[in-house]
C-alpha cells in the first residue's frame, strides 16, 4: 500500500486508483497499413520493466481523471506524476 499524489485531488491512498498500463504508447496513424504482427506489437506488447517505468493511472474512486506516473516497480517509489498530454519531467 502506498500514497499517490493525484494531480487534481491531492494525496490519496493507492486503493482509490487503478493502474492503466504503460504510458506514451502512440497509436499508429494508419492502422490499416500495418501487418498483423505490427498491430499486435502496438496492441499487446508491453515492457513490464523491473525498475523505473512510465505508467498511466486513473483516480477511479475520486475525480476519475487519467494521469501519468513514473514509478519504480521494484519498490513502488514514485519519481514523478504529471497530467495527460504533458511531457515527462524526467527521462
Amino acid at each position: 500500500m502506498f500514497l499517490i499524489n493525484c494531480p487534481y485531488c491531492g494525496q490519496r491512498d493507492q486503493s482509490e486508483f487503478s493502474a492503466g498500463g504503460e504510458a506514451h504508447i502512440v497509436r499508429p496513424k494508419q492502422p490499416t497499413e500495418l501487418s498483423d504482427d505490427q498491430w499486435a506489437e502496438y496492441l499487446f506488447m508491453r515492457k513490464n520493466i523491473k525498475g523505473v517505468q512510465f505508467e498511466r493511472w486513473n483516480h477511479t474512486h475520486g475525480c476519475r481523471k487519467w494521469f501519468n506516473m513514473v514509478r519504480d516497480t521494484s519498490n513502488d517509489k514514485i519519481h514523478a506524476i504529471y497530467k495527460m498530454g504533458e511531457k515527462p519531467p524526467i527521462k
Partner: protein, 186 residues
C-alpha cells in the same frame, strides 16, 4: 423522482453519532469545460462555482460541490416540492445543455443522501475509509470522493461534525447496514 421510493427511510441514534437519510432532494450533475460554462452555472444558481479541488459553495437553498476539473454536483438543502425541482432543472437544461455549453443530468434517483452528525462521526468514517480526515474535518465546505467500506461515496463537510454523505442507490442499503453496525462499536 415522480415515484420516489427511498431504500432506507430511517434515522438511528448512537452515543454521539446520529445517522439519518434525507430524501427526496434535488441532485444534479453538471459537466463542462469552458469558462462560459462556469460563469453560467454561477449566474443561474447565484453561487460562486468552486474551481479549487475538494471545495464547495453554498447558499440558502443549494450546495455546489467540486468533483473534478470539469464536473460539479448540485444538491438542495431541503426536501423540495416537485414544482421547484422541475423549474430549476428546466432552466439549467435550457441555459446549458441546449446551447451546448455543457451537460446537465438529473441524478436525484441515482444518489442517496445520508446525514451524519455527532462528535464521533470521523471515528466512524475512519473505521472503513482510506482517506485522511485530519485537514478535512477542520475545513468547512470541504468535499471528498473516496471509498467507505469499499463503496464509492461523496462526503461534504457541512459544519463541525456535521456531514452529508452521498452513496449510489444500489449500494445504499448495504452502506446503511455497515454504518449502523460500525456505529455500535465506536
Amino acid at each position: 423522482m415522480l415515484n420516489f421510493n427511498s431504500p432506507i427511510i430511517d434515522t438511528k441514534e448512537y452515543s454521539e453519532i446520529k445517522i439519518s437519510e434525507v430524501e427526496p432532494i434535488l441532485k444534479i450533475n453538471l459537466r463542462g469545460k469552458n469558462r462560459n460554462f462556469i460563469t453560467k452555472i454561477g449566474k443561474e444558481l447565484s453561487i460562486i462555482t468552486p474551481v479549487d479541488p475538494n471545495t464547495s459553495s453554498s447558499n440558502e437553498k443549494l450546495n455546489l460541490l467540486w468533483l473534478s476539473p470539469d464536473e460539479w454536483f448540485l444538491y438542495s438543502n431541503d426536501k423540495i416540492g416537485l414544482k421547484d425541482f422541475y423549474l430549476l432543472e428546466d432552466r439549467l437544461f435550457n441555459e446549458i445543455s441546449k446551447v451546448k455549453l455543457g451537460s446537465v443530468t438529473n441524478v436525484s434517483d441515482h444518489w442517496i443522501m445520508i446525514h451524519l452528525n455527532g462528535k464521533k462521526v470521523y471515528e466512524l468514517l475512519s473505521a472503513g475509509c482510506p482517506f485522511n480526515f485530519n485537514n478535512f474535518k477542520n475545513s468547512k465546505g470541504a468535499v471528498t470522493q473516496t471509498l467507505l467500506n469499499h463503496i464509492d461515496v461523496i462526503i461534504h463537510n457541512k459544519n463541525t461534525n456535521d456531514l452529508n454523505l452521498f452513496v449510489r442507490r444500489s449500494f445504499s442499503a448495504h452502506l446503511w447496514s455497515w454504518l449502523n453496525d460500525s456505529a455500535r462499536f465506536i
